[in-house]
């Protein structure tokens, strides 16, 4: 018969951020830092399990559509830009690298270095969303929406906008609409950062300025994506006649091979592909946004020098989450973009 001491040390539940004694971040109900770390680690892995199953429903819908109506995918593929998708893949992979590196820095107690790596990760996340905004807005311009609103006509090209900000910048109105909220956030974070600097609250100021930089990343992605998009379109319009013909010929061939009526009596529900596309990428983007919030929190804690070799759990756990977001994209990219 043995006994366990359950009344070890009793710490106050609300830890005070300003002193740095050893047991500072050990919650009162854990006996050792290791127990706390192990609990958090298992918790985040289990959370990732729930995330995988959460996305599994979408993958299920995807598999069924792809299995039963492969012709939908062929028709939809012309609207998906492999280059933008590929760039976004690289951006996310790079953010995973900086995240993993930030974990290493936190493990070694290098808070300052970790905060810089986390900032890079945050910016990458925003760049990703900026590129995504260009992709979305381009589809919306072509009337490519979810199944019930899908209304794309072969060969349709929207007129260049002539009025307002959109006209001045030569970009579509839907992209401008998507940029409104990030712009407000960018300005808001900047203002908040300056105010806190004036008030001499360094950590808060650093946090808000970092978040402003992050939102800058969104515009970096959006501008870069749009420049590529414009270039690709003009290439298609000028020298791209050949390519276009080839594509059209390929389509005709495809139609001749499968025949319109062999698998289904009805035109393929191409809109269904985009329903799945929007839900999958939208939900993924939502997870990216969640990751940005969590990363901002980590950034703040790094600037407060919270992490030590025996306490770096939060960086590790957010890192695992971030890698999962990356993992999901690793599958989404070939499934949604690489279709022939």
């Amino acid at each position: 018969m043995s006994s366990v001491d359950t009344t070890a040390e009793v710490h106050d539940e609300h830890h005070d951020d300003d002193h740095h004694d050893h047991g500072e971040f050990i919650a009162h109900h854990f006996d050792t830092p290791e127990q706390q770390y192990d609990s958090g680690k298992l918790g985040i892995w289990v959370f990732l399990v729930t995330e995988v199953l959460f996305f599994s429903g979408l993958f299920c819908a995807y598999v069924l559509l792809r299995y039963h109506q492969p012709e939908v995918f062929v028709a939809a593929s012309e609207h998906l830009d492999k280059v933008l998708g590929g760039i976004n893949t690289i951006v996310l992979l790079f953010s995973s690298l900086t995240m993993a590196w930030a974990v290493r820095a936190a493990q070694l107690g290098q808070n300052r270095f970790a905060s810089r790596l986390i900032l890079i990760t945050m910016v990458c996340a925003a760049v990703f969303l900026g590129v995504k905004a260009v992709e979305y807005s381009h589809k919306w311009d072509l009337n490519i929406y979810v199944a019930s609103h899908y209304n794309y006509i072969e060969g349709y090209h929207p007129d260049a906008p002539s009025e307002g900000l959109a006209g001045a910048l030569g970009v579509s109105q839907s992209l401008i609409n998507l940029c409104v909220l990030p712009a407000i956030l960018l300005v808001g974070f900047l203002v908040a950062g300056v105010i806190y600097r004036v008030r001499e609250s360094q950590a808060m100021s650093a946090l808000y300025l970092a978040m402003a930089v992050m939102m800058g990343g969104f515009f970096l992605g959006a501008v870069g994506g749009q420049i590529y998009q414009n270039a690709a379109e003009s290439a298609a319009a000028h020298g791209g006649d050949h390519g276009h013909d080839a594509a059209a010929g390929e389509h005709a061939e495809e139609a001749a091979v499968t025949g319109p009526d062999t698998t289904s009596k009805y035109p393929p529900p191409i809109g269904m592909f985009f329903s799945i596309y929007y839900i999958m990428t939208g939900l993924h983007a939502f997870h990216v946004i969640g990751g940005m919030v969590a990363l901002s929190w980590l950034y703040y804690r790094c600037t407060r020098n919270h992490f030590r070799p025996d306490y770096y759990g939060p960086v590790d756990f957010v890192g695992l989450y971030w890698h999962l977001v990356d993992l999901i994209w690793i599958y989404l990219f070939p499934l949604l973009y690489l279709i022939n």
């Binding site: 830092p33 290791e34 192990d38 680690k41 298992l42 892995w45 289990v46 990732l48 399990v49 995988v52 199953l53 993958f59 598999v63 069924l64 792809r66 299995y67 039963h68 590929g86 893949t89 690289i90 992979l93 790079f94 995973s96 690298l97 993993a100 590196w101 974990v103 290493r104 493990q107 070694l108 107690g109 290098q110 300052r112 270095f113 009337n143 929406y145 609103h149 899908y150 209304n151 006509i153 009596k265 009805y266 809109g271 020098n305 030590r308 070799p309 025996d310 770096y312 890192g319 890698h323 990356d326 993992l327 690793i330 599958y331 990219f333 070939p334 499934l335 690489l338 279709i339 022939n340």
Partner: protein
């Protein structure tokens, strides 16, 4: 905190870290990253070959390799406790079960679904621009 950082950096073997703390070397992280970039380019290139039916399998295979190395090194699974690995991997088993059985079933009744009368399909709800 600065002297702390230097103190840790000077130890190559990290001998004074708690036993649950295994930092991954920068070299390994960079290697993994470049492998991932390489595989991404590879998957785009392979996609260009036009392998037909094999396309999707090739793409999935490459994606799985990428996912595996992200899991192993970025997510520290290589050094992870067995229980956590089993917990995470088991999710894949349940996903397979879910998708597999559902796919098996929808195959059986798909024909009847295609009989849904076309004239009852609603028109798209977006009003098209006048210029199109």
């Amino acid at each position: 905190m600065n002297e702390h950082e230097h103190a840790h950096d000077s130890h190559g073997d990290h001998g004074d870290l708690p036993r649950y703390n295994h930092p991954v070397s920068v070299k390994l992280l960079l290697t993994v990253f470049f492998c991932l970039v390489g595989l991404t380019i590879l998957t785009v290139v392979v996609n260009g070959f036009g392998l037909g039916q094999l396309d999707i399998w090739a793409a999935l295979l490459i994606a799985s390799v990428k996912a595996a190395i992200v899991c192993l090194f970025f997510m520290h699974m290589f050094w992870e406790k067995g229980f956590n690995i089993i917990a995470f991997i088991s999710s894949l088993f349940f996903v397979t079960l879910f998708i597999g059985l559902t796919l098996m079933d929808t195959r059986a009744y798909r024909d009847s679904q295609d009989k849904f009368p076309l004239d009852k399909r609603p028109e798209p709800t977006v009003v098209r621009d006048a210029n199109s």
